[in-house]
Symmetry: C2
């Protein structure tokens, strides 16, 4: 096995978030499905932007948020994702590299950096509207074998399955990781995304994925059942290890017949749910890469998720390693 | 007098903020004066950006923040300021116009939109590093007489005095406003800024300004005294009306021999002081434009300031009119 230079390699759609608050009536009036990610084109993105109120811009992207959280916890991270060499692309690159994350992906030409207009309703729920831009250019050429081989866990977004080239990159990375004796993790990303790719996700989970992340909507969509327990029983058979998040009800970690129930970290109220699942994955992956128990992985995951939903924006504002140290936790 | 279409017209440096957290050691190592605004060139800005951690981007600029606050309170606002037609300029324009603020200034060419790298230390204090870019192109041609004449109060930043063309624009706007029977307000902006322009500020205050905003550092710098009370006694003679902020100690409003002492609105802790003075001015100006008492103006000012320092970023996250309604206050 090559040197382990990275705890986690994350691969995903590299996106700059445009975060705006709105009322529920705005979501309805624009025909959006609250809580979901919508893929939109440049024209629709411009038209939606013209309608929303003042916004804040921040680096985002599901796997990008996750690797930022891993770095904030003190983990060694790498990231593959495609941005342009434009103003937003430079912001994305700065933010991720300034955390110490290795980001070798070359800039795209002829397509702008992806944006997601994230609408945050008064209940803290977020509804995403993503224009993929340069992300559509991520392909197998962006998968650098030495980095995959040097990472304990390669973590990928289900969102990658929305584009054939990215899907091929996903499969190549999974193959390389396993050939090097490494682990592969997948997040199901979004209930609609699961709907679009159910068969392929099931095939992947049954053969090529070691760790699955999902929330209630995603796992029940995957197994087409309204019964959460039945869905958990299914994933216990299909995946060696999975973590299913349930919002304020915490999460459950499933490994064969073993179940670890994890409480959500108490907070005063959700300001913005953006990044909750992404940061849950940060804490879990960092703990798992460092050999922590499943219960400890779950606790780290919950703390990281609680930090990110207590403010606007999908990445930690506080250093997560300070936060876990303040709670008396430690991971080597 | 022409129709009163606007409560407030604000004129200032139009800036996109790049907000990053750092430790005090970073401030020291980079030779910065904590709590102050530094003017830097493009090269220094790039070099500082390369050194800072992950950031969040948001529209800023002192007077821009103030007019955003006025709009959030339900006031009718206009703004003159210079951005380029680049990605950050489009963000600035979107954010201010989406609040309903009239922003007629034409885009600059040949200079990028201004940025300020704002470093927030753990105590919530902010240290600003501003590359003026397109702001240096604001001049008298940007002062649209019909808008000045239609605004109850024209509010301007002391920062404008750092450039001769902007200073001329300031003087033209003040002359037009007074000729139309309107009021002129000035914020002293920054202790260093006062140092650079003390004589001119004193001349202005003694002849051309109706309302002065300052904090402790600025007013004591203006009168070159360490004695806050002595400085207040001086401004009482020099300006018809002034509001002096003292951080957690609240503020004092001075009109001739009249003094109104205002408490700071209680908050759990300062997350980011950026925008505190700007939003104080929002509340005060909105109240004053609508004929509220000085005590009511001070209360509105304190509530607006408290909202903005309780989160990252220089503009309100919550609708300020909802916030004041929830506190049982109302302004016509």
């Amino acid at each position: 096995m090559p040197d382990t230079r990275f705890d986690v390699l994350a691969i995903g759609n590299a996106i700059v978030d445009i975060i705006a608050r709105c009322d529920d009536s705005f979501i309805t009036a624009h025909g959006l499905d609250k809580g979901h990610m919508h893929l939109i084109d440049a024209q629709r993105s411009a038209s939606l932007y013209a309608d929303v109120g003042p916004a804040v811009e921040t680096s985002g992207g599901s796997a990008g948020n996750t690797i930022a959280g891993v770095a904030s916890l003190g983990g060694r991270g790498a990231y593959f994702g495609k941005v342009a060499d434009d103003a937003l692309g430079k912001i994305f690159r700065h933010d991720i590299t300034s955390l110490g994350v290795t980001f070798p992906s070359l800039p795209a030409v002829d397509a702008p950096t992806a944006t997601s207009i994230i609408l945050v309703t008064p209940d803290g729920e977020r509804t995403m509207n993503t224009f993929l831009g340069a992300c559509v250019l991520l392909d197998e050429a962006d998968v650098i074998p030495e980095i995959v081989q040097a990472a304990r866990i390669t973590y990928m977004e289900g969102y990658l399955f929305d584009r054939p080239a990215a899907k091929r990159a996903f499969r190549l990375a999974a193959t390389l990781a396993h050939a090097a004796g490494r682990k592969v993790a997948l997040t199901l990303s979004d209930g609609f995304c699961v709907d679009r790719h159910r068969t392929e996700f099931l095939d992947l989970i049954r053969g090529s994925v070691d760790i699955v992340f999902a929330n209630t909507a995603e796992i029940t969509s995957l197994y087409q059942t309204a019964d959460f327990e039945a869905a958990c029983a299914q994933i216990a058979k299909d995946a060696p290890l999975s973590a299913v998040t349930r919002g304020a009800a915490g999460s459950v970690i499933i490994r064969g017949s073993e179940r670890v129930t994890v409480s959500a970290e108490p907070i005063d109220g959700i300001v913005d749910a953006t990044g909750a699942g992404d940061l849950y994955a940060s804490g879990f992956l960092y703990g798992h890469a460092r050999g922590a128990s499943l219960a400890a992985c779950g606790r780290l995951a919950s703390i990281a998720a609680a930090e990110v939903i207590s403010h606007i924006g999908p990445r930690p504002e506080r250093k997560l390693d300070d936060l876990i140290a303040a709670k008396g936790l430690s991971v080597k």
